[in-house]
């Protein structure tokens, strides 16, 4: 029996990665009003650009994260400029299909450039820091309390929290952030009041890409592997977090990310369920939320 405390901590770390993946997805959902199925590929690009910077060019890891952020933000901006600007009046379903096309293009381009081979960021393996190691006898049972977290895990949680705080400050304290929230509420009304909604959508693509970039690097760092499907594999988890939080609410997505991340890791402790079904947990939560509270935790509002 695994230590529940350990599984919970693993869930918080995984939830932090999901947070970075889902906040950008949620922003684009709220402001652009469509589900971006290419968001997973933005994460993958984030991981591969970090790989190029760290392993190929030999830059320090912090610089590699910076490279990823800039590169994925640029990919977001280029996609918007080349393609999505033509779809400002398209229905959400047309947009959704276009993003599927974009996902296919990006993923096959990644495969052509870097092949299907598994790669790693080549970070040094470090022993986790032991926080707790005890067994407490409760009602005749020995409750195992063990918690060991790697430095990478701590970094992921701390940096994700910083980015969450940064997004919050950006949305509440800057003109662009306020304009984004107004556009998400009502695009036509925002336009009438003089907000340049074109600029807002461009900025949203950039921000969404940048957050996905960091998320992708952390995903590669946590799992130790970089591969062309890595982003797509986590897309469903990110969508579940977005829906759980209430579509279009970045704050809801943050909460949803931790709920899904913790639930997924702790599901390992459920007896009789194979750990290989872990990936199905987010789907299960998704369907349950849709059944009980289709509007999600935040009910589609901005926190």
């Amino acid at each position: 029996m695994a230590s529940l405390l350990q599984l919970f901590a693993n869930g918080v770390i995984f939830g932090s990665i999901v947070l970075l993946a889902s906040v950008g997805l949620s922003l684009l959902y709220g402001i652009g009003n469509f589900a971006n199925f290419a968001h997973g590929e933005l994460l993958t690009i984030g991981a591969y650009t970090a790989f190029v910077a760290k392993v190929t060019l030999g830059l320090p890891f912090v610089a590699a994260i910076g490279v990823s952020i800039v590169a994925t933000a640029l990919v977001g901006l280029v996609l918007d400029r080349l393609l999505f600007v033509r779809h400002r009046n398209s229905s959400p379903i047309v947009l959704l299909i276009v993003t599927i096309g974009v996902a296919l293009v990006l993923r096959s381009a990644i495969r052509i450039v870097w092949s299907n081979q598994l790669r790693s960021l080549g970070l040094p393996l470090r022993r986790g820091i032991q926080f707790v190691d005890a067994t407490i006898p409760i009602a005749g049972y020995d409750l195992l309390l063990r918690l060991r977290v790697t430095q990478d895990g701590l970094t992921i949680v701390a940096v994700a929290a910083l980015f969450a705080l940064g997004t919050h400050l950006f949305l509440t304290r800057t003109t662009m952030g306020v304009a984004m929230r107004a556009t998400a509420d009502n695009r036509s009304l925002a336009k009438v009041t003089g907000i340049d909604t074109e600029r807002v959508l461009r900025a949203t693509w950039g921000l969404s890409g940048a957050l996905a970039g960091v998320g992708g690097v952390f995903l590669g760092m946590q799992t130790g592997v970089i591969m062309p499907r890595m982003g797509f594999n986590i897309l469903l988890v990110a969508f579940s977090a977005v829906i759980l939080g209430g579509i279009g609410s970045p704050y809801g997505a943050m909460v949803g990310a931790y709920v899904i991340g913790i639930a997924q890791e702790m599901s390992i402790a459920i007896p009789g369920v194979s750990a290989s079904y872990r990936a199905a947990v987010s789907f299960l939560i998704l369907v349950l939320v849709l059944l009980v509270k289709p509007d999600g935790i935040a009910g589609g509002r901005w926190g």
Partner: protein, 327 residues
């Protein structure tokens, strides 16, 4: 479906290859018809095409799986598909079993999700596809997992030719096409189109749109399951990775390029998809970088989707109204 050897009896060489490609084409057409009912006519965005296809294929394989002797379901029964005057007909029980299994799963997913917006359905069905793939991979007692499941193909026992399987597939295509044409031309089909174009209006004239959407979703899923039974017979060996999520996108491309909202368009799209997917196999002999060809193919498919959705979202033979839904 990338590198399985062509093990069909009867023909060999190029004719066998062409018959094999033609059979794939017919399967794609049937899948496209099923998706077109859901998406083209009713506007339901279902991403789990591969899941329903796989359920059909695995059902066909399981109901004919012999523990040792040629029996069905491990019971002391003869093949579900009996030999009538030297021809292994009817295949109907297995096709029906595959369709029923896929339809039943379709109903399970329809109930919680069809009341919700399109994008919810898209995301939920993506999840379903993932769960089905996990089940196929992990429930080894039923599916042999990643090692793969051999199909005990009665056609093989009867020394059939691969042309016969193509014939069976064509009959299934014909029946499906006919049933769907009758369906969509009936008052029932008109309600589906009304749901696609404006659900609120359909609701306001007293139609229970949820029931119609559920019927469309379940029927479409059943058609995909039926297509799976042909695939089981064609490949004779099933592994879960054959039914990956990329297939949903491929079949969408067939429907969208051919033309959403027309059955003719779905059939044309299935044919184009087969050309797009199977022809590059010829190139393998000439191009040394096989993985580049495979990936370029995917890239081209992606670009095709983007271009069509940007400039002609209703496809070649499509109904422009099928894509003009406003939220």
């Amino acid at each position: 479906m990338t590198s399985e050897p062509i093990i069909l009896a009867g023909l060999t060489g190029l004719p066998a290859f062409l018959v094999n490609v033609a059979t794939f084409a017919v399967v794609y057409m049937i899948l496209a018809l099923g998706l077109n009912l859901q998406w083209g006519y009713t506007g339901l965005f279902n991403i789990s095409v591969a899941a329903f296809w796989g359920i059909g294929a695995y059902t066909a394989a399981i109901v004919t799986k012999p523990p040792s002797a040629p029996t069905a379901l491990g019971l002391n029964l003869p093949y579900l598909w009996v030999d009538v005057a030297g021809v292994p007909l009817p295949l109907a029980p297995a096709v029906l079993a595959g369709a029923l299994a896929a339809g039943a799963v379709g109903l399970l997913i329809a109930i919680p999700t069809l009341r919700l917006r399109d994008d919810y359905l898209a995301i939920a069905t993506l999840g379903l596809a993932e769960v089905i793939r996990l089940v196929l991979t992990n429930e080894e007692w039923l599916t042999m997992g990643a090692r793969g499941l051999s199909v005990s193909n009665p056609l093989l026992a009867l020394d059939y030719s691969n042309l016969l399987l193509l014939g069976v597939a064509l009959v299934l295509l014909g029946v499906t096409y006919w049933l769907l044409e009758v369906g969509v031309e009936s008052p029932w089909g008109r309600v589906l189109k009304a749901v696609r174009e404006d659900e609120t209006v359909a609701e306001s004239v007293g139609k229970d749109t949820f029931t119609y959407k559920t019927q469309s979703f379940v029927l479409g899923s059943a058609v995909m399951g039926a297509a799976g039974t042909i695939t089981a017979l064609q490949l004779n060996f099933l592994v879960p990775s054959q039914f990956g999520p990329r297939w949903a996108f491929y079949i969408y491309i067939a429907v969208i390029v051919g033309g959403s909202g027309t059955n003719r368009g779905a059939v044309l799209g299935g044919l184009l998809l087969a050309v797009l997917l199977e022809l590059p196999r010829f190139l393998r002999d000439f191009v040394p970088f096989e993985s580049v060809v495979t990936n370029l193919r995917l890239l081209v498919i992606g670009v095709l989707v983007i271009v069509i959705m940007t400039y002609r979202p209703w496809g070649i033979l499509g109904d422009p109204q099928a894509m003009q839904r406003d939220e």
